[in-house]
Symmetry: C2
Subunit: 386 residues, 2 copies
């Protein structure tokens, strides 16, 4: 066990209600935990000392929605979309085919590469999903590879109905042997509740089977049109409903009156030429929001949480503080990882030592300087990782 | 004189009408020039050899519009804008005050830092402007510092009327002793033709004085509302009119029928909460467009040309090829640097050896993967610079 004093932090965003934002601050890391946060002048010596030269620091990004276990290429589909072709869930089948054909090593290499890319941009806690296998063996393999590289794993067998399969037969598999196979490897179960994927009753069937086994619930909903996803997620107590691009007033009210986090995916909205999700309307109503990348080869092939934050500020009318919170503590809430020992998305004694140092004097630069790579240093779970 | 063979280029975008786009290509650099472009298997040996492992390559970005000679901080103004305060040209005065108070070394350090930041993101040819001095001595100093670090320098004494000065008196200075002082240091003269800065007659006075000395003309116009900037620029044969956010049909027609490039600044549009400039409408009408960063501390504090390209594709309905061309050869055209020996924005024998290698198999990834830093290697004027 060694301790590290990180000092010379010009502006420290803690996301802790009592600590707030500090100037000229320091943090002490003890093994994988934050041991101390306070004014630089009050810090005790530690085994090692790093001076970050007045730079701003904040909790590492918590990317609560990614799909990294995949193979194959969908560049042509992206190009066709940019030429005017609408997005549909159908492209997922292409990735399923390539993923099934890939070796374990190929899949693991892709996950490793994208996690490394994310970490090098300040992401320190990352969820990823299955959902490109869609057979018992392929979903179990995806869950295993995901669990080797991500902090949280979600089973998304109910991503689409695979070609040449009936929906009812497939759901019997998803809620039966497939769930049996993945349950030891995952914390969450998700369903794509959308036209072209699963309707409300089918989605509820998946979520109820998951809840019966004590797994946490997540929902993909309201991505391409208003629909039943939000209502279902709130009613069943899902931790998060993701996308929320098209919301009725009733959806906004339901989210505001619930513990279900509305996870917004602005890079996906842009990449599928949808409107940007109504982030301001959700916050004004009192809902809790998270920002996530939705990294996947079809609808959002980016790992850049900074791009999501900049978009949320420049175009979705969040303040920088609101957007940064949503991409850190908001993501942690969406993963129910925001409290207790090892909490993420927050910097306070006992939290996981996940620190993101910026090549900038304040977090404002994340939106003020869009596109500029601003990650100067990253500590992840107590280890300097960039 | 040494030659370098850069091979293993999976996809090479040359921007040359005859060479087009090549697969499995190579480039030979001889000193500061491209000596050869062709299929990898046909390349002759060179003194040095670099294999880029199948990555995509393209001409370096030509950033034809930046304001890098400044001091001071405008973070608070950005935050106020994000909270709803409209952008106005008035904030420029704040930067003028800080710039005048700064030492030569401070100003040069800022320019150097931002040029380095731009190069590390693939920019290889960069214009920058004066315009935060607004006295004879301060503008001459800014021009001198700009000329030491940028490829092209523009005199923008007519940025705003400095506080406590009458417009007529100030324009007499700009078109007289100030122009005398900077003329040996600059190639271009620019004027901010906009409500709150200079009207059409005042702008024309500046541009005519510049033309009389044989300097090239540029115009900031149509940024915050429709106005006379485009008409003036086209009528006087300016190389470029920059911003073009608000255009009448007559403006679009005028641009389409001229050699004046419409330089669009999407990061500025977003950062000032303006609509994005009508890029598609301009291209469909037959106008030539460039994309540039407008890097400056007030309205667009980014050096990221990749962010501009991604925005143009995702939100301004350009194809990736159109956006990449506008950010390379389009910028070169806006600077009249696109032809002859040492041409930029194009890769062909005799062009300047400015090569940008991406951590991606195709240029499409610049829009497909927004926010992800994709610059793998940069050769600038024949020298490996990142």
């Amino acid at each position: 066990m060694t301790t590290t004093l990180i000092t010379g932090i010009g502006e420290l965003t803690t996301n802790d209600d009592e600590l707030g934002r500090l100037s000229d601050a320091a943090v002490v890391i003890d093994d994988s935990r934050i041991a101390w946060v306070g004014p630089a002048g009050h810090a005790e010596p530690a085994d090692a000392r790093v001076d970050v030269g007045g730079r701003a620091a904040l909790p590492g990004w918590v990317d609560s929605h990614t799909h990294l276990v995949f193979a194959g290429d969908r560049t042509a589909e992206f190009e066709a979309r940019m030429a005017g072709q609408p997005y549909s869930a159908g492209g997922i089948a292409r990735t399923v085919e390539a993923t099934r054909a890939a070796s374990d090593d190929e899949l693991a290499a892709t996950v490793r590469r994208l996690v490394r890319e994310a970490v090098s941009q300040g992401t320190t806690y990352l969820e990823t999903k299955t959902g490109y296998g869609l057979t018992v063996a392929d979903e179990a393999r995806s869950a295993r590879i995901a669990a080797e590289h991500a902090d949280e794993v979600t089973f998304l067998g109910a991503h689409i109905v695979p070609p040449d399969t009936g929906a009812d037969d497939y759901l019997a598999t998803v809620t039966g042997p497939m769930l049996d196979a993945v349950a030891p490897l995952v914390r969450w179960v998700d369903v794509f509740c959308e036209s072209g994927a699963f309707d409300a009753a089918q989605s509820e069937r998946v979520l109820r089977a998951a809840a019966e086994r004590g797994l946490g619930l997540r929902v993909h909903g309201n991505q391409l049109a208003e629909g039943p996803g939000v209502e279902l997620a709130v009613r069943l107590g899902a931790a998060s409903v993701d996308h929320c691009t098209y919301l009725s007033d009733a959806d906004v009210d339901a989210l505001a009156g619930s513990d279900t986090v509305a996870t917004l995916l602005p890079a996906c909205d842009l990449s599928t030429r949808q409107p940007l999700a109504p982030a301001r309307r959700l916050l004004d109503a009192g809902a809790v929001i998270a920002l996530a990348s939705n990294a996947n080869p079809g609808s959002s092939y980016t790992t850049s949480m900074a791009f999501c934050v900049a978009t949320a500020v420049l175009q979705q009318r969040l303040s920088v503080d609101e957007a940064v919170w949503a991409a850190t503590r908001g993501g942690a809430k969406a993963l129910r990882a925001d409290t207790g020992d090892g909490a993420v998305g927050v910097l306070r004694p006992g939290a996981r030592a996940d620190l993101h140092v910026l090549d900038a004097p304040s977090v404002t630069h994340l939106a003020y300087r869009p596109g500029v790579p601003l990650t100067a240093a990253v500590w992840r779970n107590g280890v300097r990782d960039f």
